[in-house]
């Protein structure tokens, strides 16, 4: 059963990733990306990482995609078809992505033997929360705090930009 679900989700991810980059309508590309992100959340659920799946759904599917759609809609050219790239650019893009894929595949198969391991460590919300505020070994309190400062800076920046100039 798990295998069937896994292959289904992988197929969804592959097909819609391709559609995302090949679609000539930008809003459709955003919707295809939404399907890719939801299917990724499905794979996290399959692995038992429920919290990560929930974050994926809220942040990416519910947040980022809505932001992208908003941005596209506000620019006003959402309905127009993008023009096809020239043949040279097209071939160059294919070449670069092929080089990237082949390099990473060679590296993967050279250094990994792909052993199948059981899902022994359950990742509960409690564990995630505890390690986020753990200052000791395997703790992530420093990155957590740094990211919160970064987010604060982003919020302040956004407000400063959005604020009307008062003179």
């Amino acid at each position: 059963m798990n295998q069937v679900v896994f292959y289904f989700l992988s197929a969804v991810i592959l097909v819609f990733s391709l559609l995302t980059v090949t679609s000539s309508r930008i809003l459709r590309a955003a919707v295809y990306l939404l399907f890719v992100l939801i299917a990724t959340a499905g794979i996290y659920f399959l692995l038992g990482y429920n919290f990560l799946a929930g974050v994926q759904l809220t942040l990416y599917a519910g947040g980022i995609i809505v932001l992208i759609i908003f941005a596209i809609m506000l620019t006003g050219s959402a309905g127009e078809k993008l023009e096809r790239p020239s043949l040279n650019k097209f071939l160059l893009a294919i070449l670069i992505s092929l080089i990237g894929t082949v390099t990473s595949l060679i590296l993967f198969f050279a250094y990994h033997s792909f052993p199948v391991i059981g899902n022994e460590i359950p990742a509960t919300v409690k564990m995630v929360g505890a390690s986020l505020i753990n200052p000791g070994d395997n703790g992530y309190v420093l990155p957590f705090e740094l990211i919160s400062v970064l987010l604060l800076a982003a919020i302040v920046g956004a407000i400063v930009i959005a604020k009307k100039a008062t003179r």
């Binding site: 459709r28 919707v31 919290f51 809220t58 599917a61 519910g62 919300v125």
Partner: protein, 389 residues
């Protein structure tokens, strides 16, 4: 006198066996209180008939069918309730002709909607236009699946339960944006952008209000949240901050479902019907159904987190009273609470005037969000000091 003493002395299990009157009563209570025996029986018989793979597939199909039926019935009942409540608030009778007191009216309307032609506008992006109703219905379907309806009647008990429901219902806004944009219509577009801004902002307050109670429960799992209210519901045990959180959640929840007084996304006096202006037939029915089911979801979350879900009204360790309350089945408790909260939301809709978009966003960003943040800290403080029951 003798029976009263028995209540005090005997522990729970013996108590149930020693009810001297009504011989069939114990059996009935046992059945009503716990659906897990019923679901386990179905599970066992399926697995004894079929191979494990087939049996689990069959289980999924059965659960899916149950939810589909529930979904359709819920929509019909809520639409009827809305029309009746609206009518009574306006001193009318509402639908009266079809069936007793108009009870079959929504069925008739539903059949009419199914038979109508689903129109598509000429210059619309047809793919996105047809996709949008499905996204909205799938999002609310997934959220309903994680709600516990009664003791043992719970399809998936995820360890991130409440987080999952809020995460999944946030996908619905994508479909509203898509529907509005792909209709190729200025009213739809304005409605969609208003709705998107509104849902995104009010999600913050709703999430913070729920987190306020999560501080006390210490778990996101819905079954544990309900179990933690065995000695009393959080709205009573968490007193002041819990009541503030409930009020904030009800305001934010009403806004998230695009219902009045926050229904500027489909304000009929300015935008005809907002984002679903161009939809007709079954596709319109999907949006309509999703709106009512979302109202149910918001009420069910409020009932589960603040009022104990299916947990009967218990007061501390007051055993006699608690057992008396246990005689009312858990399904009745759950649906009773949910329908009260649904009634509250309908009450809001038909008594408050509609807000303007700037008033709406001011209310969220300048009042509700700061209040809920402060309330969150207040609850953390109370939880640290142990000042809750």
């Amino acid at each position: 006198m003798e029976t009263l003493q028995l209540f005090k002395i005997l522990p729970e299990k013996i108590y149930f066996q020693n009810i001297p009157y009504l011989p069939g009563f114990r059996k009935m209570v046992g059945w009503n209180l716990d659906f897990s025996t019923l679901t386990r029986n179905i599970h066992d018989s399926l697995f004894s008939f079929f191979s494990p793979g087939l049996a689990s597939a069959a289980e999924m199909v059965i659960i899916g069918l149950c939810f589909l039926t529930f979904f359709a019935l819920l929509g019909l009942i809520l639409v009827y309730a809305e029309r009746k409540v609206c009518a009574f608030f306006q001193l009318r009778l509402g639908p009266m002709r079809v069936g007793f007191w108009g009870t079959a009216q929504t069925f008739a309307d539903f059949i009419k909607l199914l038979l109508k032609e689903p129109l598509t506008t000429k210059n619309a992006d047809k793919f996105l236009f047809n996709l949008a109703p499905f996204i909205v219905i799938v999002a609310s379907f997934m959220a309903v699946a994680a709600i516990p309806f009664a003791k043992g009647l719970h399809a998936v008990d995820l360890d991130i339960g409440i987080f999952f429901i809020t995460a999944v219902s946030s996908i619905g806004v994508v479909s509203i944006l898509l529907a509005g944009w792909s209709s190729n219509n200025k009213y739809s577009l304005i409605g969609a952008i208003r709705s998107g801004a509104q849902i995104l902002s009010y999600e913050i307050s709703a999430g913070l209000a729920l987190l306020t109670i999560i501080i006390l429960t210490g778990s996101l799992q819905l079954s544990e949240i309900i179990e933690s209210q065995r000695t009393g519901w959080w709205i009573f045990k968490g007193h002041i901050p819990a009541i503030i959180a409930f009020v904030i959640y009800m305001i934010a929840g009403t806004a998230e479902t695009n219902r009045g007084p926050f229904d500027i996304a489909e304000a009929e006096s300015e935008l005809t019907a907002g984002f679903h202006t161009e939809y007709s037939g079954i596709k319109f029915a999907f949006f309509f159904l999703a709106e009512f089911v979302n109202m149910f979801i918001v009420s069910a979350i409020a009932a589960t987190v603040f009022f104990g879900g299916w947990m009967p009204f218990h007061i501390g360790n007051f055993t006699f009273f608690n057992h008396l309350m246990d005689f009312i089945p858990s399904v009745v408790w759950f649906f009773g609470k949910v329908s009260l909260i649904v009634f509250l939301m309908m009450w809001f809709r038909w008594t408050f005037p509609r807000l303007r978009i700037d008033q709406l966003l001011t209310l969220e960003w300048k009042y509700l969000m700061p209040i809920s943040l402060v309330n969150f800290l207040f609850m953390a403080f109370i939880s640290l000091e142990g000042w809750y029951f």
